[in-house]
């Protein structure tokens, strides 16, 4: 079968068959205000040779800089076996399966992914993944609003990743859901959960970022308890690697734990690239199982009693329930899920703990070196994972530019999203960095500040 799009004659014949005048007429029911006129900024089509040249020149421009940027996507060592296995045709070319049960290998892999994510987050159930952490956060909020019937306010920390907040707003704002931002405290960089007013009683959920965007560890127990006190669900938004060291959200607080957990599993075997593809995960407690959107794989037995895997709990999804579906998700991030599952299987629980601990140690060591540079100071004193907000004596943008000339990506400029922090940089050192790398960073930063 050819993948060449339909010819004008094909299109005309199909429109004629269904009695529509034009393609546009098929979209009549969508109000004009919601329709996009065109994609003006899309460049003209290129052929394969032109695209190859463009991509090669972009790759050269990226260079081979030493990377200290985290801010939601993290550089970790990826064992060669991960993509060797994920690159096999059975994984690499298969889209989310439509004849699902014919693809037992794919379903088993998704089932293993779900089991690992549920275990890591301390939850009862997981779906087979969504596009990225930001859309997972939006889906978690929609789950809570459905479960809480009627309560349409959700409290989200201003210290949640800015892109998560923007994505959440894009997805939920038009659905009549009110998002209320919880401020962070200037001294600690953490959210004051106890200050959530009783007036917030109509809230369906409280989102807790762990660690938060500044890399700081939040008091997740207090957050979960306060959420439950005001009758809201607690949604954890976590870097799943951090959970190798921190308490799993399912055990947060003094009661039954957080209700939903979401985030990006990119740190598990998925390389950094310009915005993705990354890997959203979404897990929850048993009572919310029927609100969990997307594909869910279950384990069962066939007529002969042999173990088999099947898509389950699909009755509320789009392909069956159409406009009344639980969500508009009808797919999962198949290839990235394969890579993450293989990665987790390779490193195991102990390996994951070691990676997380080493990343934390490298960031500590980096901060120790930075403390010797005049005018450079950590902005928040509390515990952190593998990322820290650093105050600088001059604007971060210029400093970063000078560091790039020395082959170092020095961090993420926080002043874009948090101007109140002044000249501030978010810096991350994972297990991929050596002592010599940290020395180079400290030297380059000192040099950039001195000129």
């Amino acid at each position: 079968m050819s993948f060449i799009p339909h010819t004008a004659a094909d299109v005309g014949a199909m429109l004629c068959e269904i009695g529509a005048e034009s393609i546009e007429a098929l979209f009549d029911e969508i109000p004009a205000g919601l329709r996009c006129a065109g994609l003006e900024r899309l460049p003209a089509a290129m052929n394969e040779a032109e695209v190859t040249r463009l991509m090669q020149s972009r790759a050269r421009a990226d260079g081979l800089a030493l990377n200290f940027i985290g801010a939601g996507a993290y550089e970790h060592h990826i064992p060669a076996a991960v993509w060797q296995i994920a690159g096999r045709g059975e994984f690499y070319t298969s889209y989310t399966p439509y004849q699902a049960e014919a693809s037992q290998g794919t379903l088993q892999l998704l089932y293993e992914f779900q089991s690992m994510m549920a275990s890591l987050t301390g939850m009862d159930a997981s779906n087979a993944s969504v596009y990225d952490g930001a859309s997972a956060a939006a889906e978690a909020i929609l789950m809570a609003v459905r479960a809480k019937r009627g309560a349409r306010r959700v409290l989200i920390p201003a210290a949640l990743h800015p892109l998560y907040r923007r994505t959440v707003r894009s997805i939920v704002a038009a659905q009549g859901i009110e998002l209320v931002e919880l401020p962070w405290e200037a001294a600690s960089g953490t959210t004051n959960w106890k200050a959530i007013a009783a007036g917030a009683q109509e809230a369906a959920a409280v989102v807790v970022a762990q660690p938060n965007f500044f890399g700081v560890i939040e008091d997740a127990d207090a957050a979960t308890d306060r959420a439950h006190e005001i009758g809201a669900l607690a949604i954890a938004a976590c870097n799943p690697l951090a959970l190798a060291l921190l308490a799993p959200p399912g055990r947060w607080g003094s009661g039954a734990g957080a209700d939903i957990c979401c985030g990006d599993a990119q740190p598990f075997g998925i390389p950094l690239s310009g915005g993705g593809p990354y890997l959203g995960y979404l897990t929850c407690k048993q009572p919310l199982l029927r609100q969990l959107p997307g594909r869910i794989v279950g384990r069962t037995v066939d007529l002969d009693g042999k173990t088999g895997y099947t898509l389950t709990l699909q009755a509320r999804e789009q392909h069956i329930r159409r406009a009344k579906a639980t969500s508009n998700i009808c797919t999962n991030q198949g290839l990235m899920t394969a890579a993450a599952t293989i990665h987790l299987a390779l490193v195991g629980a102990e390996g994951l703990h070691r990676i997380a601990a080493a990343s934390h140690a490298r960031t500590r060591e980096l901060c120790a070196r930075l403390a010797a540079i005049p005018g450079v100071r950590p902005l928040f004193p509390g515990p952190f994972f593998h990322e820290r907000a650093i105050g600088l004596p001059r604007p971060a943008a210029g400093v970063l530019e000078r560091m790039v000339r020395n082959g170092i990506l020095g961090g993420h400029d926080l002043s874009q999203d948090y101007p109140e922090l002044g000249h501030a940089l978010l810096v991350c050192a994972t297990e991929t960095k050596t002592g010599a790398d940290l020395d180079r960073y400290a030297e380059a930063l000192a040099e950039a500040l001195s000129c």
């Binding site: 029927r290 009755a315 509320r316 069956i320 329930r321 009344k324």
Partner: protein
């Protein structure tokens, strides 16, 4: 098709029984459970909820579909069959015993607008052809 003579029906496959206290008990018909197949989950309304005639107020989920259940008349939900949520298959076994919820209708006279057994049989049969 088991369609008891003593009940009233809707075109959307709910059965309705007028109780001595003036409330209406609502469930799904034998024909409906047959179409749905193995029922695995019931989502029932909360007691005290006001419903309009024809409003979606429950969901019956089977292995192959999740179907809305509609309020046959306007009124207030006064009871729900909570034990049935622990054993949804009861709706398959005996749909006329495994009721879903009870409504106190605003206007009991509106019962006259519902289908009798013969009319429901006719509607169900013509739908399946």
């Amino acid at each position: 098709m088991n369609i008891p003579e003593n009940l009233r029906y809707t075109a959307t496959h709910e059965w309705v029984r007028l109780e001595a206290d003036g409330t209406l008990t609502v469930g799904i018909t034998d024909h409906a459970q047959e179409l749905l197949g193995d029922i695995v989950f019931l989502e029932l309304p909360e007691a005290g909820r006001r419903v309009a005639a024809g409003e979606e107020c429950a969901v019956v989920e089977s292995v192959k579909a999740a179907s809305d259940i509609y309020a046959p008349l306007a009124g207030e939900v006064v009871a729900v069959n909570t034990p049935a949520t622990d054993d949804p298959a009861a709706v398959n076994r005996d749909p006329y015993a495994a009721w879903l919820f009870r409504i106190r209708p605003d206007d009991a006279g509106a019962m006259a607008g519902l289908l009798d057994a013969a009319a429901y049989r006719h509607a169900a049969e013509s739908e399946s052809h």
